[in-house]
Symmetry: C2
């Protein structure tokens, strides 16, 4: 079993792929038994689908890989706080642990969910893992876009 | 342009397909310019994917059909109140109008979002259209499952 920082570094690599393709740079990996079983990065522009977030792509890939619709033994690592949609998808997946890097004041789920817990009752969250690196990638992206 | 009841009846037909396939019976249609441009029904079991909700399938199909990632001129009709994930997906889609039939106290988004508006700021919602029919299909399904 590697450290949280190791898995978040892997999620950051996914985010860098998104960045290189002109997508909002968010990346995610799903880990079970210490192994990365799926990866995803934001593909909203490529797919012309605003729901093609890193988390959704990684989760869908994990369901396919395991042939299971619930992931109670898995952890999700994502570089940026999940939005409301992704928080809901994580709930349905029954993931036991959610780890994110940077908070997202604008689009993170917490702005809407407030004090209500959107995840599975047994799930735990950890945040702030490599937060500076995760946030810096986002800032660079939006700064470049504003020209 | 047909009535809300007409489009909800079409969403109910989708829900009935889900029912016939042993899926939680929720159906949805996306309408723009008075025309149904996409349809979807719950396929969680078939796809082993807990995110394969009627709304998500109908929205993805609409993005593909229009080649657009936003649907500002479209309305979504869905037989049951959207869950948190679907509310988030609807937000990202920038749909202008969301119409649902039956409320869902357990899994509807409102249980988590409370007084916070999860949809696009300009979006409007209507609910209670054919609510009895939409709710009855759900009740029949869960009653049959409990044996």
């Amino acid at each position: 079993m590697m450290s949280d920082e190791y898995y978040m570094q892997q999620a950051l690599r996914e985010a860098e792929k998104a960045y290189a393709e002109g997508e909002v740079p968010v990346g995610a990996v799903v880990v079970t038994g210490g192994k990365i079983i799926s990866r995803g990065y934001n593909q909203v522009e490529k797919l012309s689908d605003p729901t093609a977030h890193a988390e959704i792509i990684a989760l869908t890939s994990a369901f396919n890989f395991l042939g299971a619709k619930y992931l109670p033994d898995a952890s999700l690592y994502v570089t940026v706080e999940p939005c409301l949609m992704c928080a809901g998808a994580i709930y349905w997946s029954k993931l036991s642990r959610i780890v994110w890097g940077a908070d997202d004041e604008k689009n993170g789920h917490a702005r809407i969910t407030g004090n209500n817990w959107p995840f599975h009752p047994k799930a735990t969250i950890s945040k702030g893992i490599l937060a500076a690196e995760c946030a810096a990638l986002m800032k660079d992206f939006f700064r470049a876009r504003r020209g």
